[in-house]
Amino acid sequence: MNGKMYARQLRRREFLKVAGLTGIGISGARLLAACAPAPTGEPTAMAGTTQFGSSLTATYMSSGTYDAAANDMVAAFEAEYGTKVTVAAFPWMGLVSNNAKDLITGAGNYDVMSGASADLWAYLEPLDPYIQRDSYKQSFVPGLLDKMPHFQGALLGLPYGADSYGMAIRTDLFKEAGIEVPEEAWTWDEFDKNVADLHAKFKDRGISGFVLAGGAVDQLGPFFWGRYDGYHWSKDGVLKHDETMSVAALERLMQELQSCPDNVLGLSIDEANAVFLAGNACVLECWPSFIRAVMDDPQQSKIAGKWAFMPYPTPGFDYLSVWPLVINKTSKNKEAAWEWLKAYVNEEADKRTFEKYGFGLAMTTTLEDPGLMAKHSNDFPATLANLSRAKVPVVIDEAEFFLGQVVSEVVNGIASSKDGIAKINEKWATMRGAQPEYEMAVAQGLVQK
């Protein structure tokens, strides 16, 4: 072998050897550093705020409303408490997932959270000691606090963004049809008769009697429950529905679909709302908070001044949707977190967020405010009535979504009502129910007697 070549090879080998060992050394050092325990969190005391930590993170659903309202508060909160606030906003699925992961792992990244599934309520900080210590008292809608997450009797969350399924109606068409706008809730029989009459009268003008989001699988469960007045848990502590009443509820829903547009089973929530806003339906079953802000906007609505909300028909389960603001038990800044809760959930904030962002209505002071009542006289009375009697679901998310899928099969003619209910009960019997939800079911009278 040529001496020069061999010498070059030797130098190359030496270089590769040194480089390889250096690389392994660096990688090993980084691996060791990554395995080192994370530094423990503060709180480090700030001047004048020895009980608060230096930072606070609060999660909200990314919507341009809840998170925007939170961001509005940040500057004032930081100035008052010296705690740096981060508002972490995620789309709904991401919010549910991130909140759950943080609670399950105990990472404590989020001090304040918007919502947590019933499985995870054991990881939330009870609020009763804080409420009693600070004499925190607000004019919550009657019964609303009882429907917040509880664990072993302790309240875990404060409500914001309360909404329950409502019925928006065309007051002009009701008048033309000789139907009086009800102040008290109709029964479902009365509702069915009236929408059928409205449909018969106006369908030739391209206006359906009724419309709802028949294509939204996750909403079909609430529609079904609205018409179902039976139990949700058997007396043996198993998730179950009464078969006879369930079949009747499904049959009623399918009958009502006859008074809807032909494409009702393809309509999302926004599309169903659009049908009503375009003036093509007499009654809309909807989330009022999704549509209220635009109903009198002539740029987006052809029914300005010609609508109202009526009380949700009875009997049944008016579905309550309300965000609970909760504190993570592993938060290192619980005092700051509690102050944030108080700042976000109070009478003044409820009215402010309703006026600016269209959400709120967790407080009777908002719903009975003279100025707002004058502006929303066609809305607030029915909304307050609905919120007061609405109930929260008491089944796990998996069970609720499965219910929606089976109801979708039934309304699409894939399965009969009887087979659908049997399928639901059979599947639900294999699902674990959450103990806190059973307690909520007892409190709401949804357990078989």
């Binding site: 001496g3 494409n263 393809g266």
Partner: protein, 298 residues
């Protein structure tokens, strides 16, 4: 000249350089698969922080197989994979045959045809959801121009899955076209010339000469497309969300919900292993088919 002996032998140097790769494989493949096996054979409620898992053997696999929703999702995924693969294969072969060539025009056409491949699946789903919208979609608008009634493409049980298959065909046929063009371009020209000299028609040349020679390429296309379609998630998530009913409740979507939304990790791990097993079976069958076809082609 005194030659300095290397400190380590070449074999030992090789081992040292392989250590990082093995470490990465361990961290990203072996350990996760091992943990998945542990989950699949255990009963562990993730929400019970601190609770230990109980070994249950094959009980989770039994539960998964007995679950009618899982069996239904398998049928949906299999039907979707079969339908989309067949259409993509036929269409890809036909279009590939037509656009093969080195002219400037054909190159431009091929470039345009493969554009869908570069669009993220979620974007494709969103675009098609808007196109198939019952009230404002362009497809129903076009149908209205020829006097047809609008269809509830994504919300009717008999059209939801075919609509998603159509979407996947639009999205993935370009991959098959690329394979076909490559296969046709690299075929030896002599058999075709000989057939032409013997007076064979274009169809006879295609049927008896080109197609057998393309068979190995076709089997690769089938393998990739079937496995890719079987694991569909983004199309379902962005359009029908598994509905109406369970009509488009594909396996990946079902397991996504089970694992990431409901935290039923043991169920999800067991079901995932069943999916892997089925995919491996398909791969083995198609590989065997490819070897048979290669032998036949040679």
């Amino acid at each position: 000249m005194k030659i300095k002996q290397p400190l380590l032998s070449e074999t030992k140097m090789l081992v040292i350089f392989l250590i990082p790769l093995v470490a990465v494989l361990l961290l990203t493949d072996i350990i996760p698969l091992g943990f998945s096996t542990y989950l699949a054979t255990s009963s562990w409620q993730l929400v019970d922080r601190g609770a230990s898992a109980t070994w249950v053997g094959i009980e989770n696999f039994r539960k998964v197989i007995a679950d009618p929703v899982f069996r239904g999702s398998f049928r949906v995924s299999f039907g979707f994979a079969l339908g989309s693969t067949l259409v993509e294969l036929l269409l890809g072969l036909l279009v590939g045959y037509m656009v093969v060539g080195e002219s400037w025009t054909m190159r431009v056409v091929r470039t345009i045809i493969i554009i869908p491949m570069f669009i993220p699946g979620v974007v494709v789903g969103t675009i098609w959801r808007m196109m198939l919208n019952v009230n404002a979609g362009i497809v129903n608008y076009a149908l209205g121009l020829i006097g047809m009634l609008p269809q509830t493409w994504l919300s009717a049980a008999n059209t939801a899955l075919p609509s998603i298959i159509l979407m996947d065909v639009w999205y993935s046929t370009s991959f098959v076209i690329v394979l076909m063009v490559a296969g046709i371009s690299t075929m030896p020209p002599d058999p075709v010339r000989a057939a032409m000299v013997d007076g064979a028609s274009r169809w006879q040349i295609f049927r008896y000469i080109m197609l057998p020679m393309l068979a190995p390429v076709l089997s690769v296309a089938v393998l990739f497309r079937f496995i890719g379609s079987f694991f569909v998630l983004d199309h379902v998530y962005t359009t029908t969300y598994g509905g109406p009913g369970f009509a488009t409740n594909a396996m990946s979507f079902h397991l996504y919900r089970q694992g990431l939304l409901y935290f039923n990790l043991s169920y999800t791990a067991a079901a995932s292993w069943l999916m892997i097993g089925f995919a491996l079976l398909i791969i083995l069958v198609l590989n065997w088919l490819r070897r048979v076809l290669e032998h036949y082609a040679s």
